[in-house]
Amino acid sequence: MTITIPHPCVLRIPSWSIDWEMYERLCRHLGLTPSQILFEKVAQYLLQIAATQPTPRGFSRWLAELRCASWVLGFIDVWTRLMMPVHPWRYRLNAVVAIHECDPQGFDEMMKRSDGRSEAWISTLFITICFAANLVLGPVWFFGQACLYAFSRSRIRREESYFIHKTVLVTGANRGLGLALLARLLSLGANVVAVVRGGSMLNEQIARAGFIGRVNIIVADVANAGSLEEAMVAANVQASQVDAAVINAGIKEEPTRNNGVASIKRVFGVNVFGAMHTVEALLHAWVIRRSGHFIFISSMGRWHGMVKTGSYNASKAALSLLAESMAIDFQSEHCPIRVTTIEPGLIRTGMIQGSGLQNALSTDAESAAKSILQCAAYRRGVCRFPFMFRILTAMIATLPWNLRIKLLGRLRTPDQQ
């Protein structure tokens, strides 16, 4: 079977989302054959449901966002049916059943059985035993999950309460990490001002999903001075209405000998000056209001050089230092505007499609968005993840210069591989 990699520009609301892996597991659990066409219908349906249903909170949300193994689905299936009939897992399961029912092959699989009365009664006995086993073992699993939830409850609640009903500006929101941040903010109950360079696909997805009232899409190129302010005026968005800004827009280019300086300028234009243009568009109103939160998306690459990514790493180093300096300035002026710098490692987005070791060290965009917003909710000044990548970066950064050059010089870019 051909499996296509999900498009990096697909909006997925965390508590309500389904990805191919989860869909495949659900199909296996239900005894159905997964199909790409049916998967897309299920995903589209769940996106629409996310816009109409209340966001789950607390333990319900914890369960909804769980990436569970196949054997756990039995417990979730039975116990959500008994205890939480409107839980996102019910919608996922029922959507898979409903969509497959409308497909001839799916229907035949659903109704597959041998023709015999005795077989039917034996099956009924087997189903009863399975159900009883679920009733006995399910609570043990649920108790374990409840303990894990209790352990991380404060972090989850903090994130929920920090962003609910807030207006958050996100730059570069039409793909990758920006899109994941937009989806997560929506699921947390925030309203989002999404700044994009070309928004037709995002517009379409937001409209189809029914989030029109909660997302304001602004088309602006942050690299151009004044572009964001003009777009905000045109869209009737005032800086004083924005509570926080996630400055995420960024590009990465591989400079060649012919376009080295031009490429560096372009990368700095978006990653550094674009970020500062965004700050400029909001800062005046925030200083008057005496509140606001800048969340800069930098990179752990800022700690060292790397093959063919010099302009990107240098721009992120500049961004991190600018953000740090800004935080120091606010502190010295007793201005209560907060600054958080996020330095993620590898994130699997349209910018990076890793494999092998890269995959092991990287994280997906949804998990990264969750970590970023939780760090921001805790008002941490700087946040670096994933943990293993952080350790690796610390080790590389402390190596002697010559050794570091030799080691990093052996690394190859994906096209060289």
Partner: protein, 474 residues
């Protein structure tokens, strides 16, 4: 879907013809009676389950007309509407039905039920007053017809072959062949202009232009559906100064009626674990009748439809089983051919206090909303209990396990009638369907029915409309 969740494929997209209570043009207020309505071409007839049965003399014993008066109209109806069905022991109860096509193919479940009934029919008739037979359905089912049923199992999606009778596709198209027929869509009739007991104009709301307009007229045949017709009629007499000093209460229509729906689900033990092909006609292929002399004025015949669950949309049923999707699906796949439901429609009659009234609402297109006042009489409860008890006993004798009956909320019968019934007084019509208050206004739909028998209403509505048209003085 789970309770409160959005619906997913519960109604196939091609069948979304109902007006939603949130829509602009939803005309009703109140929640004691929740009606269904449609503005689609063909109206609620498009969603008809295709059952074509006629009233008999006992059903309309309290009408000012008899079956003999309707016989020609029934003959004409059966000429226009194809009817597939058998000639069997139920035929005498449907004197107006002329079968023109062979009966529809039945499933193994249906066949088991008929076999069991055949073996014990005299006992079941005697002790339970119940008869089961094949349905009379408005379907083209002769192989020599181009539009003959191909048993593709797509009835719920709207028949792709045109086998099912559809008023929008047949009657309306037939009307359009006449050069002097003019179809004007997008007009919501609000009331009529009247002068000296004559209708002189039709006051309507132009849905596209969003403005109220009036068109002159000489005669009016009103067939907007019993509830809408009742509303139009009520506005007309309320606006008519001729009737301001009448003794009749003009705040409410004479009455309103609907059949009460009670479903008796059952499990047929013989069909447990059996397989059933997909290519089945998706509406009921069997009918059930409870027939006995009854107390009061209720008709003898209580009509029901027997539907085996082998071709419906299943996921909603699977989700309702409290086992989780996987186990519920496995259980359902073993048992679904054994599951069936007998749906009874109970007769109704005029009761004091039941009727439509108008509540002023400037946000509505008509400037008001219709409030349906509806309560069921206590003697109906006794009738329902009696019939359901008989049916449960009959099902046991047929080798089925009857489950807890399910009663639908008022308004679910979609057999609305009696808002301007045949009778005396300005709020009624005469025996030819002409309004007593206006010499040129004819009630062609169920609004003119003075009582509502149990049997499916559609073929009888057609016959009534044909009779009204043939007797009209225009």
């Amino acid at each position: 879907m789970p309770p409160g969740g959005a619906e997913l494929l519960r109604y196939p997209p091609s069948r979304k013809f109902l007006v939603n209570a949130k829509d602009d043009l939803w005309p009703f207020a109140g929640d004691e009676f929740k009606p269904f309505m449609s503005f689609t071409q063909g109206g609620l007839g498009v969603g008809w389950g295709a059952n074509a049965v006629s009233f008999d003399d006992d059903d309309i014993k309290d009408w000012p007309i008899s079956i003999a008066d309707l016989s020609q109209a029934y003959a004409e109806s059966c000429r226009r509407i194809p009817i597939a069905g058998p000639i069997d022991s139920l035929s005498p109860f449907f004197p107006g039905v002329a079968v023109t096509h062979p009966p529809m193919r039945i499933s193994r479940h249906d066949s088991n039920l008929l076999d069991s009934f055949g073996r014990r029919s005299s006992l079941i008739r005697k002790t339970c007053h119940t008869t089961i037979g094949q349905a009379r359905l408005a379907v083209v089912n002769s192989p020599d017809h181009l539009s003959s049923c191909r048993h593709c199992g797509r009835c719920l999606w709207g028949c792709p072959h045109g086998s099912l009778y559809d008023p929008a596709r047949t009657t309306l198209q037939e009307c359009r062949r006449y050069p002097n027929f003019n179809y004007k869509p997008g007009r919501l009739v609000v009331h009529f202009e009247a002068k000296d007991g004559q209708i002189t104009g039709i006051h309507y709301f132009d849905v596209h232009g969003r403005q109220a307009l009036t068109a002159p007229c000489e005669s009016v045949f009103l067939a907007a559906g019993a509830l809408q017709s009742g509303g139009i009629f009520l506005r007309t007499i309320q606006n008519d100064s001729n009737h301001h000093d009448t003794v009749d209460d003009r705040s409410m229509t004479q009455s309103v009626m609907d059949t009460t729906v009670v479903k008796v689900p059952y499990i047929q033990i013989r069909s447990v674990g059996c397989s059933e092909g997909r290519g089945q006609f998706q509406f009921n292929r069997l009918i059930i009748a409870n027939r006995k002399k009854r107390d009061g004025s209720w008709p003898m015949h209580c009509h029901g439809e027997v539907l085996s669950l082998n071709t419906l949309i299943y996921h909603a049923l699977i989700e309702s089983i409290p086992l989780g999707s996987r186990l519920a699906m496995r259980l359902f796949s073993r048992f679904h051919t054994a599951l069936g439901v007998a749906t009874f429609f109970f007769p109704d009659r005029q009761l004091p206090g039941n009727g439509l009234s108008l509540i002023t609402d400037p946000t509505s297109a008509t400037g008001d909303r219709m409030h349906v006042h509806y309560k069921e009489g206590s003697d109906k409860e006794a009738l329902i209990r009696e019939v359901i008890r008989d049916t449960q006993r009959a099902l046991l004798l047929l080798g089925c396990i009857p489950l807890q009956p399910i009663r639908a909320r008022p308004g679910s019968g979609i057999h609305y009638a009696g808002t301007v019934p045949m009778g005396s007084g300005v709020r009624c019509s005469d025996s030819s369907g002409r309004a007593n208050a206006y010499r040129n206004l004819y009630l062609c739909d169920g609004a003119a029915f003075p009582s509502l028998p149990s049997k499916s209403i559609t073929l009888n509505l057609v016959a009534h409309a044909i009779r009204v048209a043939s007797l009209a003085q225009v």
